[in-house]
Symmetry: C2
Subunit: 256 residues, 2 copies
Amino acid sequence: MDHNVRLALLVVLLFVYLFICAGMFHALEPWADAWWLGANNYTEATREFYRNYTGNKNATDDFPFVPRSFFESFFYMTSVFTTIGYGHITPITTFAKVFTAVSANFGIPLLIYILAIFGSKVSDLVLAGEDRFLRRVPGPYGRRTVTVMLVELFGLFFILMIPGAIFAELEDWSFGDGTWYAFVSVTTIGFGDLVSGQRYAGVEADPNLPAFNFYILCKVCYLLVGMTWVATMWYLVADVLPPVRPEGQQVQKEEE
Amino acid sequence: MDHNVRLALLVVLLFVYLFICAGMFHALEPWADAWWLGANNYTEATREFYRNYTGNKNATDDFPFVPRSFFESFFYMTSVFTTIGYGHITPITTFAKVFTAVSANFGIPLLIYILAIFGSKVSDLVLAGEDRFLRRVPGPYGRRTVTVMLVELFGLFFILMIPGAIFAELEDWSFGDGTWYAFVSVTTIGFGDLVSGQRYAGVEADPNLPAFNFYILCKVCYLLVGMTWVATMWYLVADVLPPVRPEGQQVQKEEE
Ligand SMILES: [K+]
Ligand SMILES: [K+]
């Protein structure tokens, strides 16, 4: 099969798998932690729902939960498969935890495999550019250092600062916070000190608004692009590092 | 240089770099968010310190901070370099954020490179075992599926459940929560819904206790072992997947 067709099918598979897992997770735990949302309008009905659902009889104002929209569950599954794990949504019931672990078992490798392909394609482009424009930089290590620094600088603007400015605008954050959120996200650290979309979710706006759902889909695509940038740098650096396996000890490919 | 000597030096370099970065981060932000610690004994002096340090004049009971021990900063840097990012400690000042980003720029690749070597060595052992014991399983894909499932099962017990039981004992969690914490940690998702050591930190015990610091060092080693398990599975799976780069499009190695 053509390599690009296969890649396109893999991306479709990733999104289908994301949607299915998000739907199943949403069926398991269709609530949100109102503490994260800054909510103060959770009702006794919500608490009753939570108590019945989890068997946790201690649901009080200290454990307030509000219903969550499907696309918030979609963003949760994205945070699992990318291993970002913001932590603004985490499974509470054992069943949802087991479901998360099992779906991650396939979701994480699928996403990383796709990112590895993306990264290799972009790094091929970068290396073609290096061949063409950096011929005069002496030595392969010097040349590659310049290349990596240029790619870092490119990403600093187009992956961190410009999206950071957009996040700042949409989330009412400072520019620094938006850039920090972009950095923490695309490196998959995902502290959760800032999580986008929270001010729109649950309380301040109807989470079923098409614009809110579109925002989440855009963020998922942004994360894939940003992580591709990181993967590209990994290729560029690994390419000049000593190989992980010493010479002559490569795993033999299976022959049948 | 001998491959194993180089690996040993890289591990030493990682720990030296971790210690240096932890020391610098600790100098920048030597406090802990008491909300996470469940603290209620922060003083006006602590708040005054925080106000003076950050310029945030709004430090009230809603933003309580208590001093943090060096090894908690060490665990923070580990959470950055592993990209786990529990989020129980996050930088507050812009300078600490920039420092985190710059140190991660070298720390993450260093740690991943070491894990890649670990993973390749362990996967070589596993493949030797596969060659020896799974000869009778028909077909390379069937054989590799059995191998991966055995490695998963091995890790389920020795990386997730047994350490999970130890975490449960030390942290006063349920066994399920301990296992969940182990899973969330070694996959580098790091939700932060559970973070080990919190009950010992800051308030309930003196964080400068040798036992507490030893616990943190053990956890860092555990994380490296656990992530090696994940890296091993990645090698075993990637080995039978179609190559990321199509044939004949490999990056040309630099020649000088
Ligand atoms: K995280
Ligand atoms: K993470």
